[in-house]
């Protein structure tokens, strides 16, 4: 029984931090936002070279192991530097889907994902309603011999830029997975900027004509969601790990600020009230890390165990971590709400993560739904 990092893991962490602090400092990040408005291809290529795009996947499909703890270490680092590329969406979720589907076709796609050659994406909205949305938002319509895709999806992430998008459609109790090229006509995407400088998109399929060969896989509803629930939980945990990286960083920034900011002739960190509140924050971030580790080491345990642990992490994020983030702003005083300081950007990110992949009440329900005995 051991919850310390292996040498390999220490290495992953150090390398990630080295790269990100060099190329993804707060200032660099601001430039990226101004230049590219967010997604930054050059860095995506770097991610590939660093091996990050393959970290989630086993060797047999060309990945670099797929060890969950290694992956979560990276997610933490991506979080603590507020990287703008939707890694969870354009790598993790779509890649894991291809891995689970397992066909030579998908293996090629996976290879392109891991090498960063092409950008793939999966069409869904990362909210508690993902099931209903997948089942109801899109439908196939036959019109005089032709097959059309109709419908629309709101609040989709990771489709601002893509080469191919994987679209799930229900057709009599089966899920058909269509892989559509970005070049296709018959659809329209509108991107909206979010409070954390990501892009949240609406996509409309007015009447996109589908070709048989665009179907890359077909499976029963049940099978699909057994696979996808697993991936959804993995993505949720990744989000919590990013949040953990953020909370750690917010804590450091706040502790620093309290040590340096002077009022009444002394650092505000010398006031006992501030001290005890910082101690509470310290404890909170450690608790968050402990729950995160628990979810990692038990991720491949029984399904209920996995679900409970993931939900517990999301509940913690949506309650105590959120409150802690608010405390960090409070202790920064006016500077906490000024856009030129980094602390507020971390706050916006936490705010976003609290919402994505299910609200706190959804996860309370999910946790409590499992037997307490």
């Amino acid at each position: 029984m051991n919850l310390t990092f292996s040498e390999e893991q220490v290495l992953i962490k150090e390398n990630a931090q080295k790269f990100l602090n060099l190329h993804y400092s707060f200032e660099k990040r601001r430039e990226i936002i101004e230049e590219s408005g967010g997604f930054y291809f050059k860095h995506w290529k770097d991610f590939a070279e660093l091996g990050w795009l393959g970290l989630a996947f086993p060797e047999k499909v060309g990945g670099y192991g797929g060890n969950i703890s290694n992956l979560m270490i990276l997610m933490e680092c991506l979080g603590s530097n507020l990287t703008l590329e939707p890694f969870t969406f354009n790598n993790l979720i779509i890649g894991k889907l291809f891995q689970e589907i397992q066909s030579d076709k998908t293996n090629n796609f996976l290879e392109e994902i891991i090498t960063g050659k092409k950008l793939y994406s999966f069409l869904f909205s990362p909210t508690e309603n993902y099931k209903n949305n997948i089942l109801n938002n899109l439908k196939i319509v036959n019109e005089n011999g032709k097959v059309f895709l109709k419908g629309s999806c709101n609040c989709v992430f990771g489709i601002e830029k893509f080469d191919y998008i994987l679209v799930p459609v229900l057709s009599d109790n089966n899920i058909l997975l269509y892989l559509l090229s970005q070049k296709r006509n018959g659809y329209e995407i509108r991107n909206f900027e979010t409070i954390d400088n990501m892009k949240c998109s609406n996509i409309d399929f007015n009447s996109l004509e589908l070709n048989k060969d665009e179907i890359i896989f077909k499976m029963s509803k049940a099978d699909f969601f057994e696979i996808f629930d697993y991936i959804y939980d993995l993505a949720t945990l990744s989000t919590c790990s990013q949040a953990l990286g953020i909370i750690d960083r917010m804590y450091d920034l706040t502790l620093d600020y309290c040590k340096t900011r002077k009022q009444f002739g002394k650092s505000i960190g010398s006031f006992q009230v501030i001290q005890h509140r910082l101690v509470d924050m310290h404890i909170t971030k450690e608790e968050m890390r402990s729950l995160n580790y628990m979810a990692q080491v038990k991720f491949d345990d029984k399904i209920e165990i996995r679900k409970k642990n993931i939900s517990l992490n999301k509940i913690f994020l949506g309650s105590r971590a959120k409150n802690m983030a608010q405390e960090c702003i409070q202790l920064h005083g006016g500077m906490g709400v000024a856009k030129e300081m980094s602390i507020g950007h971390y706050f916006s990110k936490i705010t976003s993560f609290c919402t994505l992949f299910g609200s706190i009440d959804y996860h309370k329900e999910r946790y409590a739904a499992n037997d307490f005995q």
């Binding site: 900027e193 009444f264 409070q330 706050f347 919402t355």
Partner: protein
């Protein structure tokens, strides 16, 4: 103890409602309800309408053109205007510097400033905080050097609300470095058009521009603009503070925010039924209503005491603490209620850097920004930590 309004107060409530109907369009109200904000012109138009009705300077004595409302009337007015999403009176002039000039000003100062406050010709801002002096106001460094009939002022003021619109700023400056911090400060009025003043915007998390940094470089200010005596500015500032009214609790605004939240929750769906029917959500609403009502009745208790003649003591500062916390909690639950749409930047009525339109329900527009924006409420106007220090000293005697 009873809650019945006097007939006079009942009539007054009706007058206020009628006044609002006459002076504010439903389009305007809708705009605000959906997260927009009033322009400078709209605000001034509203203030002038109030002035025409002799309702503007409700905390001034009649002799100066005020209307000397009873605490209860002020309470009713605040309620009705909040429910109707009217513009908020910009406090820096009529609520803050006005009473100061009335109490400490020379005849000349009264003659030249009070009328222009009343007719909203002057937009005022408050020059207190500095980069190095937030909670510890007395440590302010902006220097005023006496030179003949003028002061030459150098320094930096920050978090200056709406300075971008301001014609005048009332300002705390250091006129003496030798004595104790509080004793070297003076209260002075500065024309924002003076040479050497630069106003730089501070953009906040929600992308909005409410606050500014004001740089003063060799700004020449005639000594006639000094309020009360040199180095007695702290006395003036304390007087001003003691006149900030209990409406800092923002009960009425929180009430309509909760009303809006319920409306949203009855439209949003959770687990295939209206969100408002969800037990967990209802319990959170219960929490908010518990906060709201305890705040509301605490305010009424204080008003009742006031009506009996006792002046609002430092107790009032816990209305600020709980009032600001409540505003934040409401915006937090509202954000939860609208889900992912709350993460999308608003399409905002007078802001740069916003989406050209908002994809979600009208009511969800700006909910995220509002949550971010309201973080300030527990920080500004004396952070809640400072408020607790005050209560501990003044009320608990610690």
């Amino acid at each position: 103890m009873d809650l019945n309004l006097s007939d006079e107060d009942k009539n007054f409530r009706k007058e206020v409602k009628d006044f609002i109907k006459k002076n504010l369009s439903s389009e305007q109200q809708k705009k605000i309800k959906n997260g927009g904000s009033y322009t400078k012109d709209e605000t001034i138009k509203w203030q002038r309408a109030l002035f025409k009705n002799n309702w503007f300077a409700n905390n001034w004595p009649k002799t100066y053109g005020g209307c000397e409302w009873s605490p209860m009337k002020r309470y009713i007015f605040d309620q009705e205007t909040a429910y109707a999403y009217t513009p908020q009176i910009v406090p820096f002039g009529v609520t803050m510097v006005g009473p100061v000039i009335i109490e400490f000003g020379t005849e000349l100062q009264k003659k030249s400033f009070l009328p222009k406050i009343l007719n909203s010709e002057h937009w005022w801002c408050q020059g207190y905080s500095e980069p190095g002096s937030g909670s510890d106001l007395a440590s302010l460094k902006t220097k005023a050097i006496s030179e003949g009939n003028n002061y030459i002022i150098n320094g930096t003021k920050t978090w200056t609300t709406l300075a971008q619109h301001a014609d005048w700023m009332f300002c705390l400056v250091r006129t003496d470095n030798t004595s104790k911090p509080q004793e070297g400060i003076s209260f002075i009025l500065i024309d924002m058009k003076s040479k050497g003043i630069t106003v730089d915007p501070i953009i906040t998390l929600d992308e909005s521009h409410e606050v500014n940094t004001v740089y003063l470089e060799d700004v020449v200010v005639p000594k006639d603009n000094l309020i009360y005596q040199e180095n007695k500015g702290w006395t003036v500032a304390k007087y001003l503070l003691s006149h900030e009214r209990t409406s800092i609790a923002q009960v009425a605004r929180s009430k309509s925010a909760i009303k809006k939240l319920k409306m949203i929750a009855s439209h949003e769906v959770f687990d295939n039924s209206p969100l408002i029917d969800n037990t967990r959500f209802r319990d959170k609403l219960t929490e908010l209503e518990m906060d709201l009502h305890s705040l509301e009745y605490t305010e009424i208790r204080i008003l009742s005491e006031e009506a009996k003649g006792s002046s609002p003591g430092p107790e009032a500062s816990f209305l600020k603490i709980r009032g600001s916390e409540l505003q934040q909690k409401i915006s937090e639950l509202t954000l939860e209620a609208v889900g992912a749409f709350g993460l999308i930047k608003s399409n905002s009525y007078n802001q740069d850097n916003s989406n050209e339109y908002f994809p979600g329900a009208e009511y969800a527009n700006n909910v995220g920004a509002e949550y971010l924006n309201l973080r300030k409420t527990t920080i500004y106007g004396g952070s809640n930590e400072i408020q607790k220090n005050i209560l501990s000293k003044m009320v608990l005697g610690l």
